[in-house]
């Protein structure tokens, strides 16, 4: 799928959105040595009343080659058709931020997406620090339905496959002495 990528300046209201299952996989069109990032897409902040419109989930992988970030993945389970997607910049994982790129997604409750972006120096640094996230909007969650932070590629511990330590855990606090 060929996606149009453009800068977006609107303020993202990161609060209400619908849920869906997304599975983005990043187009790994660069050498394996390029650094990879992964995102689990899940419903944006919501309460019981908002819950019916915030369904879905997905996954995505991004590959950084030089100044180009390529991503691909898929989503599924939205309560209403997707309308658009954004790459957003935040202070840290879990903190709503603002959009820096906007791109198209299939207008369905599930779909696959690919996109690539030229990152500037600050955006590259932000990616490496886990400050970029993907956000997918839908008709019933126009301010954002799914989101997921792009974090360095890591193993996921499951319930039947305990993971030996140390395991992946993004660190936010600066430890001072």
């Amino acid at each position: 799928m060929n996606l149009r990528v453009r800068k977006s300046c609107g303020i993202l209201n990161a609060i209400g959105v619908a849920i869906a299952l997304v599975s983005l996989s990043f187009a790994a069109d660069k050498p394996a040595a390029n650094k990879k990032y992964q995102a689990h897409l899940s419903p944006m902040p919501h309460n019981d009343a908002m819950h019916p419109n915030f369904s879905g989930k997905g996954n995505a992988i991004a590959t950084l080659a030089g100044d180009t970030m390529s991503l691909s993945g898929a989503f599924t389970g939205l309560a209403s058709p997707a309308t658009k997607a954004q790459i957003c910049l935040s202070l840290a994982p879990g903190i709503p931020g603002k959009p820096i790129f906007e791109f198209q997604v299939p207008a369905g409750v599930e779909g696959k997406v690919t996109a690539s972006f030229k990152l500037d120096k600050d955006q590259t640094a932000a990616l490496q620090k886990g400050q970029l996230y993907i956000q997918i909007h839908s008709e019933k969650a126009p301010n954002g339905n799914l989101w997921g932070w792009l974090l360095p590629e890591h193993d996921i511990a499951g319930q039947d496959v305990p993971q030996k330590g140390p395991w992946f855990l993004p660190e936010f606090a600066e430890k001072t002495k």
Partner: protein
């Protein structure tokens, strides 16, 4: 000067106009402040809503709508800060979709509309002529100012919505109270100080099995090799409703259980499940929705903290009441932690959230034989007392919180008891009115159990602002000469302190957190993100973990053979404030809301972890046999290898496995018991928002389920 160019008449006219405008403006402002525009509801509707509120809501949100625990205040600046910019239909829909917590959307549209109308009135909105409808969409801030009309609420013990007014109380069938099943536990031996110091291997004498808070048993009949053959030996139903998060206590082959919906205490034969005696103490009803997590045993007495803040001492052999005492006259106060230390009965007060005429939370020492109060340590530092200057200029009457809702632990050599406290109230700094540290909230306290004297303290989360308690179990672990106390709070930080001095030793993040921007590794001092420090009313503050807590009341277990702390963890985030709480998955968890992680206590080194979609709703219990046990939201109770985390066995229960699993032995046979329950408070309610329609649990099914290995020949 421009004035000099103006004629006297014009000046007078202009001045008069300005004065008139100022008066009109002042009157309008005063009217807006003191008497908001008529609300979109009728007085009769609000009256019906007040009745419905008393029956369905007051048990959590309080008689005065002041909120309590995770139930937010429904009046005042906090409410207006959260809801002022939103509309009445949003409030209606939020209440309908989420309340009551254990059965949302169950009251009918008219009742929800009436409750919404009552909340508007309770926030200063004037009744109009037409009732509120589900379609009414008026901006709340345009009709309400957060000021409750005088006389709207009748305060006091037993008042509307107070004791006796709970939802369950109204709907629950009237039942006989008293000792309705009489019997005697045979061969029951008195529990002495020595028994408490060296619990028999086959007993589970106290909340965490031993004074050090290990939730670990020396029993080793059940092993990783044979645990897969565990069978249900017996089960005992408990009445459904309220917050059932109990610890079965076992001594001399007798199991003691409680049911807090009816405040019933029972003794059963721990081998067969036969009932020995039953005392229905009452009152019947949810009554504040405070969980009963543990009772306590000492001598021939069994101590039960009833939901009306009344503490009972029963004869453990017969169930007869020996003494009873009321710890607080405040209708919203509840009893929290409960334990025996050095021959004293220690009890913590919680839900002390009322802003006027309230008791402050405290930890008290009582004579276990009489119930006489010997001392009281108030967990709020008041003006003129040590730490009293840590609340800024906030007057004493506005200092609140620091609930002692979790039992402490005890070091007999030091003769010190270690307790945690909850956050200051209201939870957010902007609502609390001070950015100061607010001692002794979210603090580790080391107290002399004989006098209540404070030996030292360490404030784990100064000036906490996101409903992230640091109140949970204090686990006492020695490594050679180093004596430590370790604990995990809601923000997920695993703390290690020197328990002789309270000196900070180490800290580690157990789940992802983004609220603490820095941690001073020399002092342990935590500092919030700047937007949390600079919060304003109505701000939505991102919080990972959410108020569900990275860790909550499900307790950690310590497995001494391998020096492992086995920590149950939760992984959700929330936008906190500005209209309630909005929940989302924690980044980096792949949608797994529950996690169990093992850490080597000496080094804090992570050893293993497993996680799953369903949150865990029991503490971890470990045994010398090398088996750990934990239960979850999705009704699964599992055994795992404590050395690796590998799942060894599991079974499915009627509803959520909730409370504290225990193990004991009778007649040479090891048993494992796990309670079930439905309303688990924050760690159960918060993730329910995200699991709606995905994991469906029966609201019934409270009980205790007891497992053992097959008998020889089976």
């Amino acid at each position: 000067m421009r004035w000099q160019k103006t004629s006297g008449r014009s000046r007078a006219s202009l001045a008069a106009g300005l004065v008139t405008a100022a008066i009109v403006f002042w009157m309008a402002a005063a009217q807006a402040q003191q008497a908001p525009a008529a609300g979109p509801f009728s007085d009769a509707q609000a009256g019906a809503g007040q009745t419905a509120y008393a029956q369905n809501c007051a048990s959590c949100h309080g008689n005065s709508l002041a909120g309590s625990g995770e139930a937010p205040a429904l009046t005042g600046s906090g409410f207006i800060g959260s809801w002022g910019r939103r509309t009445t239909d949003e409030l209606y829909n939020q209440i309908r979709a989420s309340m009551p917590p254990d059965n949302p959307n169950s009251l009918g549209a008219d009742t929800y509309a009436a409750i919404t109308a009552f909340l508007l009135k309770a926030n200063g909105s004037q009744p109009g002529t037409s009732p509120l409808t589900t379609a009414t969409a008026v901006t709340i801030g345009s009709v309400a100012n957060g000021q409750m009309p005088a006389g709207l609420i009748t305060p006091g013990r037993g008042g509307r919505g107070g004791r006796g007014g709970g939802r369950r109380g109204v709907n629950a069938p009237a039942r006989r109270t008293g000792l309705i099943v009489a019997g005697t536990a045979k061969n029951y031996t008195p529990i002495t100080d020595d028994t408490m110091l060296h619990p028999p291997d086959g007993d589970w004498l106290m909340h965490y099995a031993n004074y050090a808070g290990w939730s670990n048993s020396p029993l080793k009949q059940i092993t990783p090799k044979n645990v897969g053959t565990l069978q249900l030996r017996w089960a005992w139903p408990l009445e459904d409703g309220a917050r059932q998060q109990i610890t079965p206590l076992v001594h001399d082959g007798v199991m003691f259980l409680s049911t807090n919906i009816t405040n019933t205490v029972q003794a059963l034969d721990a081998r067969t499940g036969d009932l020995i005696w039953e005392n229905r103490l009452g009152p019947v009803g949810a009554l504040g929705q405070n969980a009963t997590r543990t009772m306590a045993l000492y001598g021939n007495l069994l101590f039960y903290p009833a939901t009306d803040a009344k503490l009972y001492a029963l004869d453990a052999r017969t169930g007869k009441i020996v003494w009873q005492t009321i710890l607080s006259e405040n209708p919203d106060d509840k009893l929290g932690g409960l334990m025996i230390a050095h021959g004293k009965l220690l009890v913590g007060l919680t839900r002390c959230d009322e802003r006027s005429g309230h008791d402050y939370c405290f930890i008290a020492g009582l004579d276990p034989n009489t119930g006489k109060q010997l001392w009281k340590f108030v967990t709020i530092a008041l003006k003129g007392t040590p730490g009293g200057d840590t609340w800024g200029d906030l007057p004493d009457e506005k200092r609140s919180g620091a609930d002692a809702w979790i039992s402490g632990t005890y070091d007999p050599e030091m003769n010190l008891t270690f307790w945690g406290t909850g956050q200051a109230k209201p939870s957010r700094r902007d609502e609390r009115g001070t950015n100061a540290d607010a001692l002794y909230s979210n603090t580790t306290l080391a107290l002399d159990p004989d006098t209540g004297k404070l030996k030292w303290y360490f404030q784990n989360a100064p000036g906490e602002s996101l409903d992230l308690d640091e109140v949970f179990e204090r686990v006492l672990i020695d490594h050679g000469p180093q004596k430590t106390v370790m604990t995990v709070g809601k923000s997920g930080l695993l703390w290690k302190l020197d328990r002789t001095t309270g000196k900070f030793l180490d800290v580690r993040e157990t789940v992802f957190q983004n609220v603490w921007a820095s941690i001073d590794m020399k002092t342990g001092r935590t500092t919030y993100r700047s937007d949390i420090l600079e919060q304003k009313p109505g701000d939505q503050l991102a919080s990972c973990p959410s108020p569900e807590g990275g860790h909550n009341w499900p307790a950690t277990s310590y497995y001494p053979a391998d020096d492992l702390l086995l920590v149950p963890l939760s992984q959700t985030c929330a936008l906190f404030g500005g209209g309630g709480q909005l929940f989302y998955e924690m980044p980096g968890t792949d949608g797994n809301l529950g996690r169990v992680s093992a850490y080597e206590a000496r080094t804090m080194r992570p050893v293993w972890t497993f996680q799953q979609r369903s949150p865990f709703l029991t503490g971890v219990m470990s045994t010398a046999g090398g088996v750990g046990f934990i239960g979850d939201f999705n009704r699964v109770f599992r055994a795992f290898d404590v050395k690796t985390g590998k799942r060894l066995w599991q079974t499915r229960l009627p509803t959520t496995a909730q409370g504290y699993p225990v193990t004991y032995s009778v007649g040479g046979e090891q048993f494992v018991a796990v309670p079930t329950g439905y309303n688990g408070g924050s760690p159960e309610q918060k993730p329910t928002v995200m699991l709606g329609g995905e994991i469906n649990r029966p609201t019934l099914g409270h009980g205790v389920f007891v497992f053992a290995l097959p008998k020889t020949g089976e």
